[in-house]
Amino acid sequence: MPGAEGADTGVVQSSPNWLTTRLDALVNWSRTNSLWPMPFGTACCAIEMMSAFASRFDLARFGMERMAFSPRQSDVLICAGRLPYKLAPVIRRVWDQMPQPKWCISMGACASTGGIFDTYTMVQGIDNIVPVDVYVPGCPPRPEGLIYGLMLLQKKIRGESVFDAGLRVEHLVDERGLFLEPKVVDEISEPFGNSVAQTRSA
């Protein structure tokens, strides 16, 4: 029976057995059904997120009862909308101030990849700034899209284990000021599709 606090996970390490799986099932069940969101709505996707929380599409029946606008009391950071470079340190700080366990849903094309704003002001995807668990594409995604993304996140959480030491690790911004390697940032921010031809400066 799990007893004293372990060094990393808070629960003693244990080889997987019936008890650990039952404990994981209990913990994951309680986590998936009470994911309190931190809505970080910046732009148009926030409207769709609001309507997903409202009565017709009702995210509360999934356990997202309380929209916690404080990171201290939230489990999921939902970034809905484009993120300018000026706002990047703010979302990073909000993410850092959320206690574990925490997950992140990147809602919309702009939060996932920068969307149509492949410009000098917009972060090309919040995964340059915070680690993302689920990407919900769309411009904006319908509320049903956000609900599907939430259900995917719930499925991901059900596959987690309390005894996994590497899971709830804080990925901090390093002393150079980057969250990912510069090469990786450049690679995932590359223009693709139609915008490859649009680097001209008249």
Binding site: T9, G10, L23, V90, V94, Q100, V162, V169, E170
Partner: protein, 123 residues
Amino acid sequence: MRAYVPLLMLIGFVAFNAVMMVALSHLLQANRPTKVKAQPYESGMPNLGTAHERFDVKFYLVGVIFIVFDIEVVFMMPWAIAFRQLDLFGLGMLGALIEMGVFVLILAVGYVYVYKRGALEWT
């Protein structure tokens, strides 16, 4: 004594439930303190100033004065309920009224003092 057994069972269950919830959360927590996480939340901005602000004393004064006069009201309530059965100084209900009147008068002196000292001024 037997009538209290269900109550004690409820108290025991409630206590166990509360302790179990807190203990289980504590055991299963993922404790990852970082420097930024420990700082007060200011909507994602770096902190400006500390959280230990000075408060205006008017809040304390209003709270204390309220407590005193609220207790006065608490004393008046059982008096009001038993008023018709009271019989003091041989004068019946009038005696009870005088008794309470003296009580209120003593507290009214305190009220006049508070009023004159300006403790009820909000601005």
